[in-house]
């Protein structure tokens, strides 16, 4: 029995390590749909938070593509990079390295329709693997233009 339990635990550890390693290498595509519903934030809700000018704001990290970020991004968002790529994941880890694990972090991309975004699932998984407990993902159903800019929510431009 003990041998069985040890075997299961060992297999579990190997599996977790493989997943973390593979995600780090950008080898595994993690769909945005893998992010639990309770971790999703709707654009209207975030916009209301930003426009309220009171209360705590999350650290907003853009985990998508530079050119799209340069065109327009959420006010106060910081560019991190493509979480689908190892460089982007490394930049994400570096950005959060000194943050307390309970920091309120909100990630977003908006490059593509939600179910086809290559970055959100990877970024969320990486932050979870690092032990962050208060990570939210902005649910952009179609794209950043349609679900944020066109609705008149606050944006900044440039890098």
């Amino acid at each position: 029995m003990k041998l069985l339990i040890n075997t299961i635990m060992l297999a579990s550890c190997i599996g977790t390590a493989w997943t973390v390693g593979a995600v780090a290498a950008g080898a595994v595509k993690i769909p945005a749909s893998s992010i639990p519903a309770e971790n999703l934030v709707q654009p209207a809700s975030l916009a209301a938070t930003l426009q309220a000018n009171s209360g705590p704001r999350p650290i907003i990290l853009h985990v998508g593509f530079r050119k799209l970020f340069d065109e327009a991004h959420i006010v106060a968002a910081e560019y991190v990079g493509e979480a689908d790529e190892s460089e982007g994941l490394a930049a994400l880890r570096e950005r959060v390295a000194k943050l307390p694990k309970d920091s309120a972090i909100l990630i977003y991309c908006g490059c593509c329709p939600w179910n086809k975004c290559p970055n959100m699932g990877a970024a969320f998984s990486a932050l979870q693997a690092l032990g962050f407990t208060n990570v939210k993902a902005l649910y952009i159903a179609k794209d950043f233009g349609t679900d944020w800019v066109d609705k008149g929510y606050p944006v900044s431009t440039g890098g």
């Binding site: 593509f65 530079r66 050119k67 799209l68 340069d70 065109e71 327009a72 493509e82 689908d84 908006g110 490059c111 593509c112 329709p113 086809k116 290559p118 179609k142 794209d143 950043f144 233009g145 349609t146 944020w148 800019v149 431009t157």
Partner: protein
């Protein structure tokens, strides 16, 4: 031709040529929006040739913003390639604008795929001039007068667009 008829002919031609611009002004749409005149731009394409959008006046242009990392974009490219081959003689011109951050990724893609239309690197400035390309794929259908007659962001109904292209080609 009698002088009066000639004068009337010239006047009608001038009126026709100025219609798209007038239509764009009347709609009050910002540049890059539906019914506005597509903003001109010049870029060097991936084969090293200069490409200016306005050089395609008189042809119907399908301007497709895409990227190698964008799954839906990659699915569209074989279809656009087929259209370029099928409708090229009927004055359709597809132009691909890559929004990849790295040109090398686009070169690798083009080396592996037969894309029979010009592809160039886009940037934030070009995206903004088309009213903002904040998500991909994104396509603009531009008629022979340079007017944007169709715009789509995200997954595309390719059959509907094909029918629209056929319609625009027939009109012009």
């Amino acid at each position: 031709m009698p002088p009066l008829r000639r004068a009337l002919g010239v006047a009608s031609l001038c009126a026709c040529l100025s219609m798209p611009m007038a239509a764009a002004r009347e709609t009050g749409e910002p540049a890059g929006r539906l019914n506005s005149i597509a903003p001109d731009f010049t870029r060097i394409d991936m084969s090293g040739r200069p490409l200016r959008l306005d050089q395609f006046r008189g042809r119907v242009v399908l301007l497709n913003f895409w990227a190698t990392w964008c799954g839906p974009c990659i699915e569209e490219i074989p279809v656009f390639s087929r259209w370029q081959r099928r409708y090229g003689e009927a004055r359709l011109q597809v132009i691909g604008v890559s929004m990849d951050d790295e040109e090398a990724a686009v070169k690798r893609f083009l080396a592996k795929h037969d894309v029979p239309y010009p592809v160039l690197m886009g940037d934030a400035k070009l995206g903004k001039s088309f009213g903002g390309v904040y998500g991909l794929p994104q396509s603009f259908l531009i008629d022979a007068h340079g007017r944007i007659v169709f715009r789509n962001v995200g997954d595309l109904n390719l059959e509907a667009l094909r029918l629209q292209i056929e319609g625009v080609i027939k009109i012009h």
